[in-house]
């Protein structure tokens, strides 16, 4: 009884006071800013306190293209945030490199280096889509357990709280992905790409 209400209180507190990191990367950041503005007003959820220092922020909205040059900084910022911390990957670029995924300097998804809680597709996602994702994150937080094996990562002692910061290499970042958290799903090859007969 006490444990559940404690858990409820904990979850309620966390979800009602998610302070995002003041952090924008590209076009999506403009929509992120628009979300905090009068018409959409992220402040209604208590989340307008954009903290410029990662120490005081709870949520990192990766809004925009993560280039390879920027990726180490993003990971370092994430590492420097205090637990519990969440990541919303906003926009096509942050999820997968998006329209720029063919670029040599574009990271194909920030989830290669840090764990992401919610992905928002869109280029850029509408402010409402960000709000929707934010609500989704709140729901996720609400479902988290304080104890037991199902408890979230930040409550588990053995789970890492910081991840490998990639280094600049001669041609690419090293490592190109963090294998501990990112696994490409296995896909049947014949389905992975168009078979030649299907093309004209």
């Amino acid at each position: 009884m006490v444990a559940t209400s404690l858990q409820e209180l904990y979850n309620w507190g966390r979800k009602s006071s998610i302070w995002p990191l003041n952090f924008g990367l590209a076009c999506c950041a403009i929509e992120m800013i628009a979300t905090t503005m009068a018409r959409y007003d992220l402040a209604r959820f208590g989340a307008e306190v954009f903290r410029p220092s990662p120490r005081q922020a709870d949520l990192m909205i990766v809004a925009g293209t993560v280039t390879k040059k920027m990726a180490p900084q993003v990971v370092r910022l994430y590492n420097q945030m205090a637990e519990p911390k969440y990541v919303i990957s906003m926009g096509a670029c942050a999820i997968s490199g998006g329209p720029f995924k063919q670029g040599y300097n574009v990271l194909k998804g920030i989830d290669r280096y840090i764990p992401v809680d919610v992905f928002i597709p869109g280029c850029p996602p509408r402010p409402e889509a960000l709000l929707d994702a934010f609500l989704m994150l709140q729901r996720k937080i609400d479902e988290q357990q304080l104890t037991g094996p199902g408890r979230p990562r930040h409550l588990q002692e053995e789970q890492p709280s910081e991840f490998v910061v990639p280094q600049y290499g001669q041609h690419d970042l090293t490592p190109t992905r963090n294998d501990a958290i990112w696994h490409a799903p296995l896909v049947n090859i014949s389905n992975a790409g168009p078979n030649e007969s299907g093309r004209d």
């Binding site: 507190g13 009602s16 302070w19 007003d41 402040a43 903290r51 120490r55 420097q80 205090a82």
Partner: protein, 391 residues
């Protein structure tokens, strides 16, 4: 009956004290006087944060927090719970002990100043003979705490922020003290209670607040500006200037330690406002003689909240100054003006009362204000401009 309500807390305390064995009486009395402060002001802090966020929202055509609890009033509670359960990070290279002590010290200092604030008739923790001095002396501890915070973090931005903060605080502490001196001269006491009592009378329906004298209003405005600077509020929030030095001296603080800085900032702001109310706005005295039936503590808090609203209003409007301008303003405008204000308060005392004294002193103050501000503006880079157009 109005007296009853007015003194309800005092009576309550006396009633409780009646049940306490006499050996414990002093301690109990102390605890009972301290307890309300510990409850009321943090609560007020919480309310102020919501008010600020909602007020700013309204100024900016939006609602502000309205989801946590009814109308969002539980927002601070959520923030508190969140901060409490957040990880506490101390940078490796930081000075751990000082890093820990800084937020504690700043909160202690912010609380201590409330011991001399009279929040109502007969409602003050201690009526110190040198109450105002106590206020300033304890207030100056904040500077040290800020320095400790910025220095111990060993981050470049925090150090910059701390240096800015100290430079700013020491520059505005003088005007703050000196502008308070006029009220002390008039009241003839450093005791906050006496100062308020001196202002509690009425002429007709008009109160005897020091605000309603030329030197009083000057002093009040100077005091408020200095108080804004002391509590690092906009437009003097350079020490934590987000857009410049990220978060200033508390950049490396996380979790509840950071929250403590937040608390201290608001407590400091409220304390300065409370002192301004005490010195110039008649403390708990009602604004009109026919309103004296409303309890004194109500008036105090009404005034306090009003002043906090002004702080919020200013924050919602103004951009911040630059460091050198801030220092210039402090040393070249505020300080001389507050000195002149002291002199004019002295003159006021020696001049015969009546219209002459009013006009002479007002003129003196206006003139010096004008001259000083002209001196500030006597700058090529401080002018309105007209533009040409090519077609």
């Amino acid at each position: 009956m109005p007296e009853m309500i007015d003194q309800i807390f005092v009576l309550l305390k006396q009633w409780i004290m009646g049940y306490v064995p006499s050996g414990l009486q002093p301690l109990c009395s102390a605890i009972l006087s301290v307890l309300p402060i510990l409850v009321v002001f943090p609560l007020l802090f919480a309310i102020t944060t919501v008010l600020e966020r909602k007020g700013l929202g309204r100024m900016q055509n939006r609602y502000g927090p309205n989801r946590a609890g009814p109308w969002g009033i539980l927002q601070p509670a959520a923030d508190g719970i969140k901060s409490l359960t957040k990880e506490d990070i101390v940078p490796r290279s930081a000075d751990h002990l000082v890093h820990l002590l800084a937020p504690i010290l700043i909160v202690i200092a912010s609380f201590l100043v409330y011991s001399v604030v009279p929040v109502g008739r007969n409602m003050v923790v201690v009526d110190l003979n040198a109450g105002v001095l106590f206020f300033f002396a304890i207030g100056s501890m904040v500077e040290l705490a800020v320095f400790m915070a910025g220095w111990s973090s060993r981050s470049k931005y925090s150090l910059l922020g701390a240096m800015r903060a100290i430079a700013q605080m020491i520059s505005y502490e003088m005007p703050m003290v000196l502008s308070g001196v006029v009220a002390i001269m008039a009241a003839g006491s450093l005791s906050t209670v006496t100062i308020v009592n001196m202002q509690a009378g009425y002429t007709g329906i008009w109160p005897h607040w020091y605000l309603f004298t030329p030197w009083g209003i000057t002093g009040y405005i100077l005091f408020m500006i200095a108080a804004t600077a002391e509590s690092n509020r906009c437009p003097f929030d350079m020490p934590e200037g987000e857009s410049e030095i990220i978060a200033g001296y508390f950049i490396e603080y996380s979790g509840f330690k950071f929250a403590l800085f937040f608390v201290a900032e608001y407590l400091g702001m409220m304390a300065s406002s409370a002192m301004a109310i005490t010195l110039f706005l008649g403390g708990w005295a009602a604004p009109f003689s026919f309103l004296t039936w409303i309890p004194s503590w109500f008036w105090f808090f009404a005034k306090l909240i009003l002043m906090l609203m002004v702080f919020i209003w200013i924050r919602g409007t103004l951009p911040r100054l630059r460091m050198d301008q801030l220092m210039n303003f402090g040393w070249k405008f505020m300080l001389p003006l507050s000195l002149i204000n002291i002199v004019s308060a002295g003159l006021w005392h020696y001049l015969p009362s009546g219209f002459t004294r009013w006009s002479v002193i007002s003129l003196l103050l206006l003139l010096s204000c004008f001259l000083l501000s002209r001196n500030l503006r006597r700058n090529k880079w401080f002018q309105e401009r007209t533009y040409r157009f090519a077609s």
